[in-house]
Each structure stands twice: as structure tokens, then as C-alpha cells.
């Protein structure tokens, strides 16, 4: 029996789950948190990006046994009480998505970027976001959305201001 902390809640993983199973598949198949997406399984596309203690990581590369004792956040855990975060609001306002399949991973990456660099320039955005593939090619809009989110955060006093932006 493994115990995980996901989105602020403690969940138990039964013994029928192999401890070496990538966190991605435990989230999706065992816990039904399907917002985290499978794209490649080899850490190349970042569709499966989650936060481990606030650090963006590809969940297809993290055995679930190594996630024990860590604070895990998935795309489902960003909004609190239905209040979308600045990044999520920016993604809607800029109408970033085409198919939208990669966007959960993009949003997790962007959220972590803005935690460490609240006002990133284009080069810093490119450097951080280039770990994530968008097959539809929405990169122009992702960049705009990161700037948009950055401005929302500046106006509201930061990521941890309660999201009232």
C-alpha cells in the first residue's frame, strides 16, 4: 500500500499497482485523474507534466514509489474552489488550444515558470516552454498567454494571492 499526496489530499494506492508503474498511469487509470496526458512515454513531449514539490516533472518518467512523500499537483489541482488560476484564465482568453491535448502539460510548465520568474521575457519563455511539444503548433499563442498570465499576476500581487485575478 502506497500513500500519495495529490492536490492536497492523501490517497492510498492498492497493492495491485506495481510500485514501478509510472505516476502517469496511476493518475489516469487508478485514480481517474485523466487531465494528465500520455503522449510519448519517454519524457520527450511533456504532455504528462505534473508538479512534484512545485517542480515540473514528466510523470511518465516517475515511478509511483518515488512519488511517495512528495507534494504532487496535477492540472486538476490548480484551480481552487472553481476559481481558475491566472494561467488558466490567460489560456482561455488567448484561445490557445487547437486540439488542446498538450495544453495541460503546457499550463503546468508555465505555472512553474511564473513561480520562479514572474515576468519572463520571450527568450526565457522559449527556454522553459521548449520542453513541451504542441503538435498543433500553438506556440505563438502560448507565448502570448504566458505574458498575459504574468500581467494578471502582477496586477493581483502574485501567484499565491488567492487567484482573485
Amino acid at each position: 500500500m502506497l500513500e500519495l499526496n495529490i492536490n492536497g489530499q492523501t490517497v492510498e494506492i492498492g497493492d495491485d499497482v506495481d510500485p514501478s508503474t509510472p505516476l502517469l498511469w496511476v493518475l489516469r487509470d487508478t485514480l481517474g485523474l485523466v487531465g494528465t496526458k500520455y503522449g510519448c512515454g519517454i519524457g520527450q513531449c511533456s504532455a504528462c507534466m505534473v508538479h512534484v514539490n512545485g517542480v515540473p516533472l514528466q510523470s511518465c518518467q516517475l515511478p509511483v514509489e518515488n512519488a511517495v512523500g512528495q507534494q504532487l499537483t496535477t492540472i486538476e489541482g490548480l484551480a481552487e474552489d472553481g476559481q481558475l488560476t491566472a494561467v488558466q484564465q490567460a489560456w482561455i482568453e488567448e484561445d490557445v488550444a487547437q486540439c488542446g491535448y498538450c495544453q495541460a502539460g503546457q499550463i503546468m510548465r508555465a505555472t512553474a515558470l511564473l513561480e520562479s520568474k514572474p515576468s519572463p521575457n520571450d527568450a526565457e519563455i522559449d527556454a522553459a516552454m521548449s520542453a513541451n511539444i504542441c503538435r498543433c503548433g500553438t506556440y505563438n499563442r502560448i507565448r502570448r498567454a504566458v505574458h498575459n498570465a504574468s500581467q494578471r499576476l502582477a496586477a493581483s500581487g502574485g501567484l499565491n494571492s488567492g487567484g482573485d485575478v
Binding site: G32, I42, I92, C99, C134
Partner: protein, 768 residues
């Protein structure tokens, strides 16, 4: 309005099986003459209009169209509820092209409601109720444009009539505004919701009596409307095929042969079944001919199914699986050998003639110069980010399916045929697709899960790994063009010769590997010789975003630039001059824009606009250049100018691509611009480093580590301009893709003097 009701032609490189889409348009036109009917019993009540499929054939137009049956009461198209909510049912699949937002916008415009009142729901999949439901060929908007407008206008007309009765005034005194009927003289306003009961009792107006809005009256169309699924996307709610979950669901994966076309003989199934988490394992014989792309065929690959309690358990068990494969009928293709053979053939004339016009030998004899070029482009995978998957539950005498397919209408009879069921024993729920690009036109993954589900009796999701998805695909076929052109003393293009070397089976090009031989600039010239030689192949191929055009544009538009350079001409002037000579195909007008037909005026207008917006002709520093290309496909005219720099190590930077397009008026500006920007990025991605190669019939790239999709830091800024002409709107999922690669290659030439003739550019020593 005559142009609105004209028939349209599909792009000639859309495979024949998708030409059925044209029939959909005809059907929609026939339906529009019959209009709509009221239906009742729909959840939420109010005024509900459905497509009138009744009476098909009564006017001689509907032979072969779906019969009415008893389903009439369940085909809602638009519903105005008493609480003032407007529910619009989106009938076609959305795989990222944005129709789930754009199509309802068209209804809402004519209904004259505020977009905030609108709730969009995915319509059920049922050909007898909704006609063809397909995402392909950039046809959703042109096929449904008139029907959607009339749906909204019919409901609006009935609400006005109801208000006239309510207020005891003439219909002519009433107007509408954002969900209200307005009587201006007395300043009275009645919400639609208050009128629905009265309106439901009124006759549905004849479609011919409807007055549709003029473009100048549009309030919603042309605006930037954000996608209706955006909130679910950014919060990670279940939405896609892969997200489907059912009680007691098991997870399957079908292990496919590493060599295309091989079949399993035996496998260590007992050992696999003994592994932890494994529910079952069995050999799947396959059905039909899955190597050949088809929309509605009951076809799936043979392989070994592993069924488990999780996706990971199924994937992990593959490591322990040993299969004996029979490769006696498998593909033995070698890409490197095909390149060598095509290069040798390029010096010769083709085996068969596709088109011979004028006196090409005389043109070459009189030419001032005769440039030649041999162009190569690669096989490519669709690489939808959501790997192929499908979920099904077989219940003995029926099956229920949850699919992210592009062709649900075709999936239903395919599964019925596969399992020996009647069509009405197959229920398919349409789910969003994480990318399509043509891959999900084929229903092999749907047939696959149906087959596996029949063995199990419990719900099952069949999941392809990325390696499965890339290792078996209906690839964009590679090809070769050996060009020669004649340039006259006046610097005009006077002859065009192309030996097209492509891939074929049984004497015909494989899917999407054909050439018409009338492609621009041939249709602007008096002298042409287009020949073809087919290299035998066992590889699967199929439509891939802008089929045919996605590669032809690269070869043709780059060689055209070689011609303008050889002629010593400015490329813009050279193109504009050629457009003037384009012969418009018989039928003319909007209806004639299939085949090699393009509208010279629209072509010239977008080309001029792209040049102007990009600052064509300005001085560039060393190592930096502008390149231009035009292409017409899927009824869209697009010109693009790329600005690039190249360093001494052939490292490429694409600074900006300026796009000018004419697809008629824009329905959703946000969606249309997004499609164009994505098309350019996709095209650069494909041009730069994506290729599928194969040796011994085995595909050599199986994941993104060897299939480098473009990253954000490599992507150009894409500046989009539309000429909003009065032609009916046409689709934009595809036509912005083709001109991007040649524009970039022509810019590389302008920057460096080096002519690139091979895609991907990594083969020419470039990096990005």
C-alpha cells in the same frame, strides 16, 4: 446569393473515398430546400428545430438519402429553451480544427442571440438523423454553411411570428436583438424564452422564404470567439477518447508486427497471461486489408492482444511477449533504395503520360535557358499527440463505442460489418480527438477495439503506444519530381516538364501519392509534359493534412522560384504574370474551383497582400532573405512570405512568416488565425526534420526522440491577414499549410544562394 448555393469541388488530392464529402454538400443543399421541422420531447423543451430528413426523394433530389424512420423526434439541431438558453448541437467531430465552436456560431448569428446564451452540445452520431458526420477535407464549414444559417433563421422567424401574435402587431414592425424580439415603436422587448411556447405552435417557414443576414449585418461571425471546450481543457476534465472510463473497464494493447504486413503465427501467451495484472492474451487474426487506407472498411491489423488491469500492465507485458511472425507477405521496402532508384529514373522520361500539351520540344529548342531540378520529399507520420485509442463494450447483440474518430459515420457500418451486427446495433459516442491531421479518418483503431471487445464481454479501452502509432500509420507518402522548364528570351516561362516518381500498387498510386498533371503552373502554360513512374511498395499511406498539396507545393513552388531566378525576374512579378494566364476550368465561378482550378484574381490579391505586408523587395543584410510561395488547395488561396537567416553552419532561423489568405468571410477569427499559425509551424516542422524511413519494411522512427516535432524556440512569428471576399466561406484546417515550406526554402535561397531540393532539410545539412 447564387454563389452560396453553388456546388463545390473537393481538392483533387483528397483521396477518392473522401470525395463522398461532396455528396454531403449536395445532400445539405437538397435538405436546405426542404428546410426544418419542429420536434418535441427533447430535454429542456421549448422551440426545437431539427433537420427535415423527411420526404427525401419526393422532389427527385433525395435518392439514396437516409430514410426518416422513427428517429425524427431525436435529431435536434437548435433548441431555444424557456429559460432563454439556446442549445446548439454540433454535428461534426472536433479534432482541433475548431468546428465545435465555429459551426454553432453560424446558427447563433442568424438566430440573433448573444453568444453567452449559447450552450454547445455534441450531437449524437446517426447518419439517418444528421447525415454525414465527418471531419475531413476542410469541408465542415462549406458543407454546412447554408444549413446552419437556415436553422438559425427559421427559429428566429418563428419567434418573431410568435411575438407578433403576442403583441398584436405586424411581423414587419418587429426586429430582433441579442435574444429579444423588439417592437421599436413601443420600445417593447420580449425575451426569446418567453416566446418559445407560442412559437412551437407555429408552422416552420419554408426555407425559400427566409431572409438571411447580409455580411454587413453580422454581429458574431468574424469576431474572435474562444473555444467552447477551453475551460475543460485548461482544468483537465475528461474530454478526449483516451479519457473514457467505464465501470469494470479493462485495458488492452494490440502488439503489431515490427515489419509492415507481417502476421502472427504463435506467441508465448500462457507466459504472458501469468504476468501480474494481465487479464488475457490472444492472437488477433485481423480483418480486411489494413495496409490500404479506407474510410469505411472493416479492417484492422493482425497482432497479439494483451488485456490487463491497467494500461501500464499491458504495455509492460510486451517486454515478455515473444511472437513468431510470418513475414512471407510483408513489406520489404527500403527508403534508401527508393531514393537511389528514383534518382536514376529522374534522368529519364516517365513510364506513363499524365498530361501532354502544346509543343514542348519546340519550346525547349527556342528557350533562352532551361533550368532543371530534382526534388525529393519524405514519408511522414501524422503523430497526433493523442496516440490512437478507442473504447468499446460488447453486449452480445450490440456494441457501444467511445471514439475520437474523424469519420464516425463510416465507423458505425465498419464495425457492424466486422462483427456481423446491424447498423442500429452499433452505438458510437463521439469524443474529442487530440489531433487528427487525417490519421483518424481511418477507423482501424475502432475496428481493433471492437474485435477485442467481442472476446471479453466487459468494457475495454485499446490503447496504442507512441511506438505503435508511429510504427504503423497511413503515412504521408514520399515522392520525387524531376523538373525541367523553358524560359523564353522575354523571360517568360514557356514550358514545364515534370517526371513524377511516386509509389504504387497494382498499377495505381497508393493513397495520396497521385498527381493530376494539371497543377499550377501547368494550367497557365501552353506547353507541358507530365509523366509518372510508380515504384512498387508495400507501405501504407493516406491523407495527411492537405493531402498531395502538402508535398507538391514544396516541389512545384520551389522550382518555380528556380525559374524566376533563371529568368532574372522578381518572383512576385513572375507569379502575378503567370496568374494572368491561368485558364479557368469549365464551370467557372465558385463551383469550378476543384481540380487545378484557381481564381487568378483571388490568387493575385493574396500574393500582392502577402508581399506588401512582408515588405517584399526591401534590402536584406547578408545571410538573411525573403522567400515567397503561393498555393491553392481545399478552395483556399494562400500566399506566404518567409523571412529567414542562415549562418555559416547552415543553422536556420525563421524570423517570421507573413500569410495572406482568401477563404471567403471568416467565421471565427480566433480559430481561423490559430489554424493558419499552426499550419505554418506544422509545415516548418515537417520541412525541417521529420521523416519516416524504413528498411526491410520496418519503420525506423518510433517516437519523438527520432521524430523531432518543432519546439517553441524554433517556431517563427506568424503574421496572418485575410481577404474577406463575398464568396461562401471555405475551410482553413489545411490550405495554409502547403505554401509555407516553399516560401521558407525560397528564402533560404535568397539568403544564401543555396537551393534546397530535399525535404527534410536535415538531409541537406541544415539545423534549426
Amino acid at each position: 446569393m447564387s454563389r452560396d448555393t453553388a456546388d463545390f469541388e473537393l481538392d483533387p488530392y483528397v483521396p477518392e473515398c473522401i470525395q463522398q464529402l461532396r455528396a454531403e454538400h449536395r445532400q445539405a443543399m437538397a435538405l436546405s430546400r426542404r428546410g426544418f421541422i419542429k420536434i418535441s420531447g427533447v430535454t429542456g423543451g421549448g422551440l426545437v428545430l431539427g433537420l427535415s430528413l423527411a420526404g427525401c426523394g419526393s422532389d427527385g433530389q433525395g435518392a439514396g438519402e437516409p430514410s426518416l424512420g422513427n428517429a425524427l423526434e431525436e435529431n435536434p439541431f437548435v433548441q431555444v429553451r424557456p429559460d432563454n438558453t439556446v442549445v446548439i448541437y454540433s454535428k461534426n467531430p472536433d479534432v482541433g480544427q475548431g468546428v465545435k465552436t465555429a459551426m454553432p456560431m453560424i446558427v447563433a448569428e442568424e438566430l440573433d442571440v448573444d453568444w453567452s446564451q449559447v450552450v454547445v452540445e455534441q450531437a449524437d452520431i446517426d447518419e439517418s438523423r444528421y447525415g454525414l458526420q465527418i471531419a475531413g477535407g476542410s469541408t465542415s464549414i462549406p458543407s454546412n454553411w447554408m444549413t446552419l444559417r437556415q436553422a438559425g433563421a427559421s427559429a428566429r422567424s418563428m419567434l418573431i411570428s410568435a411575438a407578433a401574435l403576442e403583441l398584436a402587431v405586424e411581423v414587419g414592425e418587429l426586429s430582433t436583438d441579442a435574444g429579444y424580439v423588439v417592437h421599436e415603436v413601443t420600445s417593447r422587448r420580449i425575451a426569446y424564452g418567453e416566446l418559445v411556447e407560442q412559437a412551437s405552435g407555429l408552422p416552420v417557414p419554408d426555407a425559400g422564404s427566409l431572409v438571411l443576414k447580409d455580411r454587413s449585418e453580422w454581429k458574431l461571425l468574424g469576431r474572435r470567439i474562444t473555444g467552447v471546450d477551453n475551460e475543460k481543457i485548461v482544468t483537465g476534465q475528461p474530454l478526449y477518447g483516451i479519457d473514457q472510463r467505464l465501470p469494470d473497464m479493462v485495458y488492452a494493447t494490440l502488439v503489431k508486427a515490427p515489419t509492415i504486413g507481417a502476421r502472427p503465427v504463435s506467441a508465448n501467451l500462457d507466459h504472458v497471461k501469468s504476468l501480474p495484472g494481465i487479464v488475457d492474451a490472444f492472437i488477433v487474426e485481423g480483418a480486411g486489408n489494413p495496409i490500404e487506407f479506407g474510410l469505411d472498411t472493416a479492417a484492422l491489423l493482425p497482432g497479439v492482444a494483451i488485456v490487463a488491469n491497467s494500461t501500464w500492465s499491458a504495455f509492460k507485458a510486451k517486454d515478455e511477449l515473444d511472437v513468431v511472425w510470418d513475414e512471407s507477405n510483408a513489406a520489404s521496402d527500403s527508403w534508401s533504395e527508393a531514393v537511389a532508384e528514383a534518382t536514376r529514373l529522374g534522368a529519364e522520361e516517365g513510364a506513363e503520360s499524365l498530361n501532354e500539351t502544346g509543343d514542348i520540344d519546340a519550346a525547349f529548342a527556342n528557350a533562352r535557358t532551361s533550368p532543371e531540378g530534382f526534388y525529393t520529399y519524405q514519408f511522414a507520420s501524422h503523430a497526433d499527440l493523442e496516440p490512437q485509442n478507442c473504447t468499446a463494450w460488447f453486449k452480445g447483440d450490440s456494441i457501444e463505442i467511445w471514439a475520437p474518430t474523424q469519420t464516425p459515420t463510416m465507423a458505425v457500418p465498419a464495425v457492424a460489418g466486422l462483427l456481423g451486427l446491424a447498423v442500429d446495433q452499433v452505438t458510437l459516442h463521439q469524443l474529442r480527438g487530440g489531433g487528427g491531421f487525417g490519421r483518424r479518418l481511418a477507423n482501424d483503431s475502432v475496428c481493433e477495439v471492437a474485435w477485442i471487445a467481442r472476446e471479453l464481454g466487459v468494457p475495454v479501452k485499446a490503447q496504442w503506444s507512441r511506438e505503435d502509432d508511429m510504427g504503423f500509420d497511413y503515412y504521408r507518402p514520399g515522392g520525387f519530381h524531376s523538373f525541367k522548364a523553358a524560359i523564353s528570351d522575354e523571360g517568360k516561362l514557356t514550358a514545364w516538364q515534370d517526371h513524377f516518381i511516386s509509389f504504387g500498387r497494382n498499377g495505381s498510386p497508393i493513397s495520396a501519392a497521385n498527381l493530376t498533371g494539371r497543377e499550377f503552373p501547368v494550367n497557365a502554360l501552353g506547353n507541358a509534359r507530365i509523366t509518372q513512374t510508380l515504384l512498387p511498395t508495400g507501405m501504407p499511406s493516406g491523407p495527411w493534412r492537405a493531402p498531395g498539396s502538402n508535398a507538391l507545393a514544396f516541389a512545384i513552388q520551389c522550382f518555380l522560384n528556380e525559374c524566376s531566378v533563371a529568368a532574372g525576374r522578381d518572383h512576385l512579378d513572375f507569379l502575378l504574370e503567370l496568374f494572368e494566364d491561368v485558364s479557368i476550368p469549365q464551370g467557372g465561378g465558385f463551383g469550378g474551383f476543384g481540380g487545378a482550378g484557381l481564381n487568378p484574381e483571388r490568387a493575385a490579391a493574396v500574393t500582392r497582400l502577402a508581399a506588401e505586408e512582408a515588405g517584399w523587395g526591401r534590402q536584406m543584410p547578408t545571410g538573411r532573405g525573403l522567400g515567397m510561395a503561393f498555393y491553392f488547395s481545399h478552395q483556399g488561396h494562400f500566399a506566404e512570405v518567409a523571412e529567414v537567416s542562415v549562418d555559416d553552419d547552415r543553422r536556420l532561423t525563421v524570423h517570421q512568416v507573413t500569410v495572406a489568405g482568401d477563404i471567403g468571410p471568416i467565421v471565427n477569427m480566433s480559430g481561423a488565425e490559430n489554424q493558419v499559425q499552426g499550419s505554418v509551424v506544422d509545415a516548418l516542422s515537417t520541412l525541417m526534420g521529420l521523416e519516416i524511413t524504413f528498411e526491410g519494411g520496418r519503420v525506423e522512427q518510433r517516437n519523438f526522440d527520432r521524430y523531432p516535432i518543432l519546439r517553441m524556440s524554433q517556431a517563427p512569428a506568424v503574421d496572418v491577414h485575410f481577404i474577406q471576399s463575398d464568396n461562401s466561406p471555405t475551410g482553413v484546417g489545411e490550405p495554409a499549410f502547403p505554401p509555407a515550406a516553399p516560401a521558407i526554402c525560397n528564402a533560404i535561397y535568397a539568403a544564401t544562394g543555396h537551393r534546397v531540393r530535399t525535404m527534410p532539410l536535415t538531409r541537406e545539412g541544415y539545423s534549426i
